[in-house]
Amino acid sequence: MAHPTALALEFHLVAYKRTWRSSVFSSFALPAMFLVAMGITVGHYIDERSTSIGVPYLDYLGPGLLAATALQVAVGDSTWPVYGGFHWTRVYHVMRASPLTVGDVLRGHLAFVLLRVALSSAGFLVVLLLFGALHSWWALTTPLVAVLVGAACAAPCFAFAARATSDGAFAVLFRVAVVPMTLFAGVFFPVESLPWVARLLAYVSPLWHGVELSRAATLGTATAWGVPAHVAVLAVWCAVGYVLALRSFTRKLGD
């Protein structure tokens, strides 16, 4: 007997068979292009002038982009598609008429999003390997880090998308949360160079912790706060997000 959550996941896998080609670009090719453009070209200038980050800029940027990609994929996949599940395809309502519970419906979709995050980060890891940006066997754990970052970002987004009254909210979410996080949470430069308010914001963001873990893994270095602390912050994001998401889903599907 398959677990009901796995049965809900199955739907998303079947649907993905039709769309995976187009998603490869946004979840893999685009970040890889970023890596090349920023890591090699911009990195060339940086490496000539500064040694304060201690490693070639490409090697510094790579694991950061890996975590940022996890954020992008996770948020993209858990906003519009979740809203669509309620309002466009109505697939959640369809599932709800079967023996699946609200929790199964939620977890099945969440599992799919995390699978997408894992796949895109594994692909990105291969690119990093080809560019010689990996310096430690710990690099193999980065897909796990990506999944953790993905869950920390996706779970609250599921809650947000379930409560949204229009899909316009998601473009705003990208503008006020995803883009600033991507730019300022340690992906491109150390957060130590930020003013203290911004740095504080970076510390609460899930991305910075993911970047720290990811970078430590590929470079074989230590993290800022120690692995358990970063994992703990991400776990809190996951847990709070999941509770909120389950509550929102229950309200929408079990009125």
Binding site: L7, H93, P99, D255
Partner: protein, 310 residues
């Protein structure tokens, strides 16, 4: 009826949204093998009731037992044995016709092989076998409805819930759906359907309740309801575009009862032709005269003072 022979037993069932009461204490018993209908206008509370029976919406009050189980506690177990055709089409337009069934079957943990075989059979049943590999998007409204009905049958349900199965379909498509539902009924599947079409209720339902504003205003077989609340025949007269206000007096005494609607006048009578003769006998010259059998529409009008579809 004894409690234990009812597949669905609702007692004082209530559904509220905030302080609005959509379902206001209804009592319903549905027996195995019957086709049971909820007839009522838009907003009567039919869908709210169906969603509670489908165990996707929690009753605010009252008791609801389905297949001998408590809807509040055993939702998943009940849903496993129900087939649901919701009011709003919710097929996956990206998937093929066949995939829509097989994917849905998996929610019920039906093995893939079985799901496929059953899906093919059901597509045959709803006359869509030749479209199995096509996407759903270009299908006509009637085809989509039939596919939704097929989907509701993949788990071989003991009860099939159909919320407005033919609303929005053209007459030919409706007849195709009715014919399939009639076949299901013959196979002994218990059907529960809602409709605001009195002809649909008359064609399909062994027994029905008339719902209005969250309450049940009458219950019985279509025949019983018509006998009880209407007359054998109804004479419909129209007077072109003339205002009809004054006609109640002019027709007084003809038939058992006269009902003046905005566009026509209904005369309830055992003998429509005789009533028509009486109308002419009073020197009135209607622009059109029609004698028809009493219908559920008349029942609803009699009970609520309003027409079903406006």
């Amino acid at each position: 009826m004894a409690e234990d022979e009812a597949l669905i037993a609702a007692t004082a069932l209530v559904k509220q949204f905030g302080d609005f009461t959509a379902v206001d204490g209804i009592d319903v018993r549905v027996r195995a093998g019957e086709a049971f209908g909820f007839l009522g206008p838009n907003g009567a509370g039919k869908s709210s009731t169906m969603r509670m029976i489908g165990c996707v919406s929690r009753p605010t009050g009252g008791a609801l037992r389905i297949l001998g189980l408590d809807a509040a506690k055993d939702g998943a177990a009940i849903r496993a044995r129900l087939g649901v055709c919701p009011q709003q089409d919710s097929l996956d337009l990206e998937l093929t016709v066949l995939e829509n069934l097989t994917v849905y079957a998996r929610y019920f943990n039906i093995p893939r092989k079985v799901a496929r075989a059953r899906a093919m059979e059901l597509l045959d049943f709803v006359q869509l076998a030749d479209r199995a590999g096509d996407k759903v998007e270009p299908l006509s409204g009637g085809m989509k409805r039939r596919l939704t009905i097929a989907r509701a049958l993949v788990n071989e349900p003991e009860i099939v819930l159909l919320d407005e199965p033919t609303t929005g379909l053209d007459p030919q498509a409706r007849h195709l759906v009715w014919e399939r539902l009639f076949r299901l009924k013959q196979r002994g599947v218990t059907l529960v359907l809602t409709t605001h079409y009195m002809d649909e209720a008359e064609q399909l339902c062994d027994r029905l309740v008339v719902m209005d504003a969250g309450r049940i205003v009458a219950e019985g077989s279509p025949r019983e309801l018509i006998d009880r609340h209407s007359t054998r025949e109804v004479l419909e007269v129209r007077f072109g575009n003339d205002p009809l206000d004054g006609f109640a007096d002019k027709l007084d005494g003809i038939g058992e009862r006269v009902e003046v609607l905005p566009d026509r006048i209904l005369v309830y009578t055992g003998d429509g032709d005789a009533a028509a003769a009486q109308v002419h006998g009073r020197g009135l010259t209607p622009s059109s005269v029609l004698v028809r059998r009493g219908s559920l529409e008349d029942v609803f009008l009699q009970l609520t003072g309003r027409t079903l579809v406006d």
